[in-house]
């Protein structure tokens, strides 16, 4: 057993780019569910909105506009435009589509609609019909949009950093990611401590009470949905930059469930908890992944029980069961307190 590589992958998981991706998404989901009581099971769509907003702007929409309108927008202009589209425009549109039909109804309906929208997204983006493929490149995904980002990196691309774990580009991404994470967490913290956050907490517990005091519950829920979605989109964008590709399979429903487990593990309803939850979860996943794979390849685990390719499936099984058990027995997670926890009450 190569413990060094196991520890390395654990460390990488705890602080690397994938963790940042999930942490941002979890903070967004925390705003949705932990603070407002919204059942958003389509966070992956918001993450995809960020990734595809940027990717499409640079790779397909931008060049098409350049051709059709005779403009000459440079890649870096498109990059910054893409950030705006991915972080603001797309998430707002998705939030409106999900929220307008459902926020006046019971919480379950949002759950259903968010899963439906996620499925619609998956089908549409992966569709091979030419009319769509030229914008999204269906299941192959889009590439070639992260150049502007890495051009800004002060780290040498060939050098390795931080115990030789990260290349120059990765280091830049991780640093930027941490800065963004800090900013987002601060914004979230400010929001929650404000009167706006107070109204959210009231709505989470009892909408009618909030209404009787003059608060427009519907508007607040929509705002929370949008902001949380924007946080998720930022996460999705960072990951897309990190992997230099925006692919539909990176944003499947299972990603949403990852985020939920991270959130509940850390404790919904506390600002920093989702960060800890995401870190722990991803570290654990990386650890178990490497550990199990090595076990299989070293024949410590017999083939009859589990093959290499089944390791991933076992992880999901554990995750699903873990989520169910957490929700049933310790819905406040590690850091939440029972009194505040939304799960305990209707």
């Amino acid at each position: 057993m190569d413990w060094v590589s196991i520890i390395e992958s654990l460390f990488r998981g705890l602080i690397g780019e994938s963790f940042i991706f999930f942490a941002l998404a979890a903070i967004g989901l925390n705003l949705h569910f932990g603070f407002t009581g919204l059942l958003n099971f389509g966070q992956a769509v918001f993450m995809a909105a960020g990734a595809y907003g940027l990717a499409m702007m640079v790779a397909t929409i931008g060049p098409a506009a350049n051709r059709n309108f005779g403009w000459d927008l440079s890649e870096s202009t498109l990059f910054w435009l893409g950030i705006f589209v991915g972080v603001i425009v797309f998430p707002v549109i998705f939030a409106l589509v999900m929220g307008i039909p459902t926020l006046r109804l019971r919480a379950d309906y949002l759950a259903i609609v968010t899963i439906a929208v996620a499925e619609i997204f998956r089908i549409v983006v992966r569709s091979p019909t030419p009319g769509i493929k030229k914008w999204t490149n269906s299941s192959d995904g889009l590439t070639g949009f992260s150049g502007t980002f890495y051009d800004m990196s002060p780290f040498g691309t060939q050098d390795r950093y931080l115990f030789n774990l990260f290349t120059g580009n990765q280091m830049f991404l991780v640093m930027v990611g941490w800065v963004v994470l800090a900013i987002v967490a601060t914004i979230c913290w400010l929001l929650i401590r404000s009167p706006w956050g107070r109204v959210l907490k009231a709505i989470r517990e009892d909408e009618d009470a909030a209404r009787s005091l003059g608060k427009n519950a519907y508007a607040y829920k929509m705002q929370a949905l949008i902001i949380g979605g924007i946080f998720g989109a930022i996460g999705g964008m960072i990951r897309a930059i990190g992997f230099s590709v925006a692919q539909p399979d990176n944003f499947i429903t299972d990603v949403t469930f990852f985020v939920w487990v991270a959130l509940i593990l850390g404790g919904a309803g506390k600002v920093l908890a989702p960060i800890v939850g995401a870190s722990l979860l991803y570290g654990l996943l990386n650890f178990s992944d490497t550990f199990l794979r090595q076990g299989v390849s070293n024949d410590l685990i017999p083939d009859s029980l589990m093959t290499g390719t089944q390791v991933g499936q076992v992880r999901f099984m554990i995750m699903g069961l873990g989520l169910a058990l957490l929700a049933a027995f310790r819905p406040q997670g590690i850091f939440g307190n029972k009194e505040e926890m939304a799960l305990d009450d209707r």
Partner: protein, 430 residues
């Protein structure tokens, strides 16, 4: 005890995969070779050899089609491959598009099976007489019936307990897989006919899923109810269980689709030149229709059925009229799950059996039930039928791979316009 049940389930399902679970590669490429014989019937072609090459031209594997025309080559990884049919082994048939042999640029995604198509024989210009909208309408009824059968349980569980059970789709998959195990893997053929093992498998699927549904209610949902757990946490629990079971299915059954056996697909039957149906589809529609009529009648006439509707409609009122609500809930879980299991067998018969089938259907179920009225029984039936028809007929306007999108969009629009659905009551929806 709960864990023992899970272990038993896994052991049982491990018999199920089309390839033994132990050596189950996650990526495969394969297909099913079909042709028309001299009588004009559709048959499968046996004994034809296929070779798979990777991007660098190295041979990765070969396979020969079996009696069902199925061939399969396991792969080590996802990626791009090419597939070649060995024409020397193709006796008595011609490739329709010989220039596509070998087929290149075959892309295999992770954890999936890639189906390839090698059409044989002349393309029959007008294979059957049908008017497309009517054909789609009939196809829609068939799909709608399957959705309806599975959705009743979902709707009634919501109506009686308030739980939106996201794990309901897994009952469908379970039913299909149980049927598969009895029919394909073990081939319990009685009286020499392959159909009997299918019937037997269907019966077993219904019984077992019903029992498991009841078991889940006792062990999980009832306990949560008694502990006063909120509906939201129960919902999240159901989602966790949904993931858990889906990946158990994937783990044990494998990633590729399994097909029920047809020695012949059976010829198409024409109906007045308006539409055609395969024999098995006729069976599905007739049988499904009978079951649904039976269920609808049962809900109207039997005591249990009436009690179910009463509790689903207004739990407190029903309780104060002396109905034992817990008992009714138990029956709802058993019957609802059993129907879902049976629906799964039919779904597997009309398409195929794979680990995700129930989850895919779940979304369509939500569309149907929301349209008809979440919490009602008749609403679920009506809404699902309409949803099925809508899905199939939407292909008149949009590409086939996106037909589910139509139903899901319709779901969103219904919530805008009439959230309680056709038969639901406005005060149930918040």
């Amino acid at each position: 005890m709960f864990l023992a049940a899970i272990a038993a389930l896994m052991a049982f399902l491990s018999f199920g995969g089309p390839v033994a679970a132990q050596d189950d590669p996650a990526e495969t490429v394969g297909g099913r070779l079909r042709a028309e014989d001299d009588a004009g019937d559709k048959i499968f072609v046996e004994g034809v050899e296929f070779t798979v090459f990777d991007v660098d031209g190295n041979e990765v594997g070969t396979a020969t089609t079996d009696a069902d025309g199925v061939w399969l080559v396991p792969l080590l990884t996802s990626g791009v491959y090419s597939v070649e049919l060995n024409v020397d082994t193709l006796q008595g048939f011609e490739l329709r598009n010989p220039e596509n042999n070998p087929l290149t640029g075959v892309e295999v995604q992770p954890n999936t099976n890639k189906n390839t198509l090698f059409p044989l024989g002349e393309r029959v210009i007008e294979e059957s007489n049908s008017i497309r909208p009517i054909q789609l309408f009939v196809d829609g009824i068939k799909l709608g019936m399957i959705i309806a059968m599975c959705a009743i349980g979902l709707s009634l569980i919501y109506g009686t307990t308030g739980l939106t059970n996201f794990a309901h789709g897994e009952m469908v998959t379970l039913g299909a897989m149980i049927g598969f195990v009895f029919h394909v893997t073990w081939q319990f053929d009685f009286l020499g006919s392959w159909m009997t093992s299918l019937v037997f498998g269907a019966v077993m699927a219904t019984v077992i899923t019903g029992a498991i549904g009841g078991l889940f209610n006792e062990l999980v949902w009832k306990r949560l109810r008694n502990r006063g757990a909120s509906l939201i946490s129960a919902l999240v629990v159901s989602i966790g269980l949904s993931i858990f079971f889906r990946y158990i299915f994937l783990y044990q059954f494998g990633g590729r689709a399994g097909f029920y056996r047809d020695y012949r697909i059976g010829s198409q039957v024409e109906f007045f030149g308006l539409f055609t149906m395969l024999r098995k589809d006729i069976f599905i529609v007739v049988f499904g229709g009978l079951i649904l009529v039976g269920v609808a009648t049962g809900l109207r006439k039997t005591r249990v059925g009436k009690a179910m509707r009463a509790v689903a409609d207004n739990r407190d009122l029903a309780e104060s009229s002396g109905i034992d609500v817990e008992q009714v809930i138990k029956y709802v879980w058993i019957v609802g799950s059993a129907l879902a299991g049976l629906g799964g067998v039919l779904f597997g018969l009309t398409e195929n059996v794979n680990w995700e089938m129930g989850f895919r259907l779940l979304l369509l179920m939500f569309a149907g039930v929301t349209l008809g009225g979440l919490g009602t029984a008749y609403g679920a039936l009506l809404g699902s039928l309409i949803a099925g028809i809508f899905i199939q007929m939407s292909t008149l306007l949009i590409p086939g791979d996106m037909k589910n999108v139509g139903a899901l969009l319709a779901l969103i629009i219904i919530l805008l316009v009439r959230p309680q659905g056709l038969l639901g009551r406005p005060d149930r929806i918040g």
